[in-house]
Subunit: 326 residues, 2 copies
């Protein structure tokens, strides 16, 4: 199965590495909107092509993994590529998924290709766990917690404040809220009760730290609804202690069964990830395998993780997974 | 969707209750090998039919949920019913699954019906989580822990010892082993290092408790490979404190990604269940829904949880789950 990467940032690099962990896949190359000669792949033998030439290679690529951002890249890229290629993306603007789905479905159906959108861990594996748990326990309550992990968007928002040179923001689930959910208390939790935000900030020489801190903790949407802690550190400390991109979280459903609903159950799925983009890339590869197989069976159109039979994700045969994992 | 229950014990009672939690299902009735008049369903309006008459109702039942034991019942029941009905079973003798699959596949294909075998939580939801995690992290290690929960088979084994009136056995995961796995230590764990066994035993008047305890802890296969603790209690205490059938467990995969495999990831799925049979019944209903839908689409033959697109498990439409859960 020949994989190509469209868009080459952290996620694209993750896919480039993940292909080597999957013996049934090989990398055709990377497509970039930058000048190819300015792009330096992780592995020197990785070929780099101009994004505009992609359609020329429609017969050479089995699945195109689109590694763009959800805000402006993917709403254009995925529909425009889905009529020439089987495609996978990690579109994660939850509210806009139905619209994105419709655009991609139209293109993929026209081109006779398979597209799978919103693949990763949330949306992705977390979504799957929400669906399974809801199907099993129709009477219950869902909870999703994120972290401990780095939020790129929140880190960027801090960096835009005057006097800030660099910043790293961690989202942290509140342990007592997690404990209460797991105990089956069915708490109603406000935004503030579920997560705290921890910020490491590098301030410029002579910058007003009190003003920066106040601008952070009162920032609407990003921080004002949370208990936020701000630590000022040096650039050296930030580079030394906070250069990773860890993330993770918890999807929990609690519910009850039986004649009088007296028996309680807790279903929990959790991820603890050293590298958010590398893990997401690994999920993308597994779903690329499914897209390829579905395409070979003559299927077409836009799919989500909900539509994929799990066996299609595995590099092993159906007989092998039945014998070894069931 | 009309559900029927074939075999009426704890699991069958769980299905009877679970049908009421799923508005798109209704209960046709219970089929039993006992005299129907001796069977007292949870709900008085539940109809009870003789098992031998099942085939007469082949056009009245959309999915037959077979609630027999894996040792002797299911290997006969599921193949014999699968040519007349869409069927679901919870066959859990892992090593014999390929043989059971072949027998059921033959019958279901002949009858043009859909059968889904080995549905529940292990095999079932735990199997699914093993498959997803292996597909995402090809380089890693799998761990499954069970408990804290009641093992019916081990409780029965204790009851067969001379001088024992009643017994309840709990399987308990070793916390330090769980912690080591979650920390990404990739430990090699022996049977003894993963689980302990805790037994509550009611001894008869004047029975030799030292001999009973020795017979338990040295029992091959069941207890000799474990650290086993035996407590003698009264029948009243057993009935008061240990009448539930709780269970659960943990499926964990740890793995690494990246150029040099330096980034570690932990995927964990866990269940904490007040009632093992009621939860299993709830899983069976969700997969019964999928069997019915697949059958309506003209599919046939034996399937496992690996073959089922998650969207088919949900009572909601595809559009609804995409909009609300993705």
């Amino acid at each position: 199965m020949k994989i190509a990467i469209y868009g080459y940032g952290n996620l694209g690099r993750g896919v480039e590495a993940a292909v080597r962990q999957n013996p049934d896949t090989e990398l055709f190359g990377v497509f970039t909107r930058r000048s190819p000669e300015t792009v330096h792949p992780v592995f020197p033998e990785t070929r780099v092509f101009p994004a505009d030439d992609a359609a020329k290679y429609r017969d050479d690529v089995d699945v195109m993994i689109i590694c763009g951002g959800s805000a402006t890249d993917l709403p254009k890229m995925t529909p425009s590529l889905a009529s020439d290629f089987n495609v996978i993306d990690s579109f994660d603007t939850h509210a806009d998924i139905p619209r994105h789905f419709a655009a991609v479905d139209d293109a993929a159906t026209r081109g006779g290709k398979v597209a799978i959108i919103s693949v990763g861990w949330d949306p992705g594996m977390f979504s799957l766990n929400r669906l399974y748990a809801n199907a099993i326990l129709p009477e219950g309550k869902d909870y999703t917690f994120w972290g401990k992990g780095v939020s790129q968007g929140h880190s960027d928002a801090i960096r835009r404040i005057e006097g800030v040179l660099d910043a790293r923001q961690y989202t942290i689930p509140v342990q007592s809220a997690l404990d209460s959910v797991r105990a089956g208390d069915n708490p109603e939790l406000t935004t503030r009760e579920k997560h705290t935000r921890l910020c490491y900030v590098v301030a410029g020489e002579g910058a007003d730290r009190a003003r920066i801190e106040k601008e952070i903790v009162t920032m609407p949407k990003y921080f004002s609804d949370y208990d936020t802690t701000v630590h000022f550190i040096s650039q050296e400390e930030l580079d030394r202690d906070h250069k990773g991109i860890p993330h993770g979280g918890f999807v929990i459903r609690t519910g009850s069964t039986g004649v009088d609903g007296k028996n309680k159950h807790v279903i929990e799925y959790s991820l603890k990830l050293d590298s958010n983009p590398e893990f997401t890339a690994s999920v993308l590869i597994a779903f690329a395998r499914a897209a390829y197989r579905m395409s070979q069976r003559g299927e077409k159109g836009c799919k989500t993780v909900f539509d994929i039979a799990p066996v299609d994700l595995s590099a092993r045969t159906r007989e092998e997974v039945i014998a070894s994992m069931l």
